[in-house]
Symmetry: C2
Subunit: 499 residues, 2 copies
């Protein structure tokens, strides 16, 4: 390998190791840190994050990139690595220092205001901060790519290569189909899921979580499960990937499915193997937020809420459930954990209505960024959209436009990733089933390894070497097509609800 490439990799690896130190500080803060530790922890995080930033904007990286980009005879992997490195280097260096510190300061204020506003159902308290976050995001987009429409620039930060147009096209199809499926479900009798509210102790739920981590192929030498107020996955090292869950005593499916969801993220992180030359570099990062989400949703919903999966595992879970599932037939359990009901809160939404929550946010945030929607008109626009797409009436902003943290953090363009994740997952699933005829029989026999192996080979090992659109094309043979997702939903839910 060229000396310059070796040097670039070495600088990149050191930066990567430092981000993992920051990840440990964050993980500990959410899991075990005693409460009085928070003040100094903020100082510790600031030191490590500044150090990681210094390493990322090292002008030596820019010089190495300039030199290497001019080289001939670069291998495919080298080209991919330079592309990823250039992209991240530009992202980190193009923002003026003044804007970066202003964003950090305003984000902190904005988040604090949002917490208060949500608590007190007081949108006016948050509105000026939201306006500031929009203004700063416009400045950010302009600094990164002055020629492009700002919302496109922001979308590209989360889903590389996407534009408002490309997302609007797939969302239009998805929206039409989701509304139709939701309508069909509403015309049918609702499933009973009252048994899911029976008490199961945290210790028993923890055993279930460990059971499912094992069933999915989670390598416990390279990761672990802990508890946190909000479940998350975090990478503390190339071989140290941790997930968290929480145990709600009168709703055990929460921990079961959040553990499967986070394990899906973790399996992806564990599978980002690009070979020894590039291990620990940005080439070994995830392809995108949406691809990451496709992995968690694949395991949580497509596999983890399927009848074959529960056919294999229900018999093991019933005795672990401390009597809560006694007398509950497999089919009723399956229907219970797949109950669809339009509701107000995105994070509690089922597979069908979830996409509509995301589409609403996509439409609203693009309008905010383009100036087509004024900040003070957001609550009304939100409530109208929820009424039109989900048929629900929003009683207050707390359960309306104040429910999500994202905009308060200045994350515009992030929401679409959640829905794109579902679309990618369903398209991967279609391809996987076509290529492995025995797939569902294996899952029904308790063996998830064919699914994991397919994802390892087709998705995980590509890591960041391909753009998400290239990855989908290569893995499935066709471009992103939302009909895989809506077709999957229609088939599954017509069987459950009988329409």
């Amino acid at each position: 390998m060229r000396e310059a490439m070796k040097k670039l990799i070495s600088l990149d690896r050191e930066r990567g190791v430092i981000t993992h130190i920051a990840a440990l500080l964050g993980w500990d803060q959410e899991t075990y840190m005693p409460e009085s530790g928070i003040d100094e922890r903020a100082e510790q995080l600031a030191i490590v994050e500044n150090l990681a930033h210094e390493k990322a904007v090292n002008p030596g990286i820019g010089e190495l990139l300039n030199r290497l980009e001019g080289e001939k005879d670069l291998s495919g992997q080298e080209k991919a690595y330079l592309r990823v490195s250039r992209r991240e280097y530009d992202k980190e260096t193009k923002l003026p220092a003044g804007l970066v510190s202003e964003m950090a300061r305003q984000t902190s204020l904005s988040q604090a205001a949002w917490v208060q506003a949500r608590k007190n159902n007081d949108f006016k308290r948050f509105a000026p901060h939201l306006a500031t976050m929009i203004r700063l995001n416009l400045e950010k987009a302009s600094a990164l790519n002055p020629g492009a429409p700002p919302y496109d620039v922001l979308l590209d930060l989360y889903e590389i290569g996407s534009t408002e147009r490309s997302i609007a096209d797939v969302f239009a199809v998805m929206k039409r189909d989701l509304v139709e499926i939701l309508g069909a479900i509403r015309s049918r009798p609702q499933s009973d899921d009252s048994f899911l509210r029976r008490r199961v102790s945290p210790a028993a739920q923890a055993r279930m979580s460990q059971y499912f981590m094992g069933a999915l192929g989670f390598d416990k030498h390279r990761g672990r499960l802990d508890t946190a107020a909000h479940p998350f996955t975090t990478t503390l090292g190339r071989d140290d990937i941790r997930i968290t869950t929480r145990y709600i005593e009168d709703y055990f499916p929460s921990s079961v499915f959040s553990t499967i969801h986070e394990a899906g993220h973790a399996l992806y992180e564990m599978g980002l193997e690009v070979g020894p030359d590039y291990s620990g570099t940005r080439l070994a990062d995830a392809a995108s937020m949406a691809v990451h989400e496709s992995q968690s949703r694949m395991w949580e919903n497509i596999i983890g809420r399927s009848l074959p999966f529960w056919g294999a595992h229900y018999g093991h879970i019933v005795p672990m459930a401390e009597g809560a599932l006694e007398g509950v037939a497999l089919e009723d359990f399956y229907k219970g954990v797949n109950r669809v009901e339009a509701s107000l809160i995105r994070t509690e939404a089922d597979e069908v209505s979830y996409g509509l929550h995301v589409i609403a946010r996509f439409e609203l945030e693009s309008a905010l960024i383009k100036g087509d929607l004024a900040v003070e008109d957001l609550p009304g626009a939100w409530n109208d959209t929820m009424h039109q797409t989900l048929g629900v009436e929003v009683p207050d902003d707390r359960r309306g436009c104040l429910q999500d943290i994202h905009w308060s953090m200045g994350s515009f363009g992030y929401f679409p990733s959640y829905a794109l994740g579902n679309l990618y997952a369903a398209q991967f699933w279609t391809a996987m089933k076509a290529q492995i005829p025995s797939l569902e029989r294996s899952i029904a026999a308790g063996d998830c390894s064919p699914a994991l192996n397919w994802l390892r080979e087709k998705v995980h090992r590509e890591a960041a070497a391909l753009l998400p659109s290239e990855l989908v094309l290569k893995a499935t043979g066709s471009s992103l097509d939302p009909s895989h997702f809506t077709g999957y939903l229609r088939k599954k839910y017509s069987a459950i609800y009988g329409f």
Copy 2:
């Protein structure tokens, strides 16, 4: 405050915060890290330790110290802070970089060789590494203080202001008395402690540990308890001090007393309050290793193995012990946890024989450093010493001179701190009892706060502002006198064993 002092404090604080990040990396490695995380964890630790070292040897600190040391009208606290800062700065900067890296490299090899040698009872495998560690320590002593006897320089690193002479003087008295007390105990019938081997589940032991942390006044908002293979205390932040223990199912006193021991260390760390100006600086460090050990031993042995203490708590512990203590009277339990028996292993030794283990190491390591004892003669010398002082026959080097990790890490001069800790603790105890006549009545009523408050005021709050010898004099009114310790032992054990 002077600008230069503010600047010095600010540099010092940043260094301190970074050492806490390293402490988190270490804590996590010993508690929760999945096993495959170890390789990258070593890289992470190296990065953070290098950064802490860079901050500590910043030439700006040297310039500020030079300037401030010449100032007039320095307050007592300022003088103390400059003394501590100068000492640590010199220690970090006086060692040539070549020696530091050579020591790091050789220590790593030496520790690995020691692990193998101990496992295979093969002293010859370790001997050349021990010779290297001695040579490097001689170079280190010479670099730090070329005019002084090397072993004095090394002792001073752990117990500031101590010399071989000063320690030999107190150890001579202690040795004579310990041998005499041990002989008296041996002439009497042995206590029964077989009930301590009854099974108690880890969960029940964990509840006992939490109970005793509460009883001692451990602030659970500023710290926590976890499990680790080898119990330790570590400071992860000014308000984040963590202890660990381990649960041996057929010997629950191990976790009870190790938790009390580590809680003693943690209470000291939590009490190092030097006011807002110097919080987070080196002035808020412990006075010395031995003073630290005095705090753990005070709580574990002098208070934690006393009859008044168990009079208050035994009734709470019996129902937590899952039947293991049913039918065991308080007095028998008290005698059981204070059983004295000369044995081979220092870390398992009782209060009486422990000091003799330390004295043996002190005599042997000073002879090794002075060249009075050749490395190849260590096993024989060790076995002779153990025979003469403890009356035990060493069957192999694994249970002899290979049992401790310290010399393999190049820590010569460290062992005396353990015994000095016992001496300090007993002298503090004498003073505390004299100043608080109701002390033992409070402890017998379950209230340890008078003891903690005394330690807070007389020991903890002084932090590093006084040398250990100054601290003992100020807190107790007299210089270090080993007769407090041996008097305490004689009184306690003559009552238990009836001599």
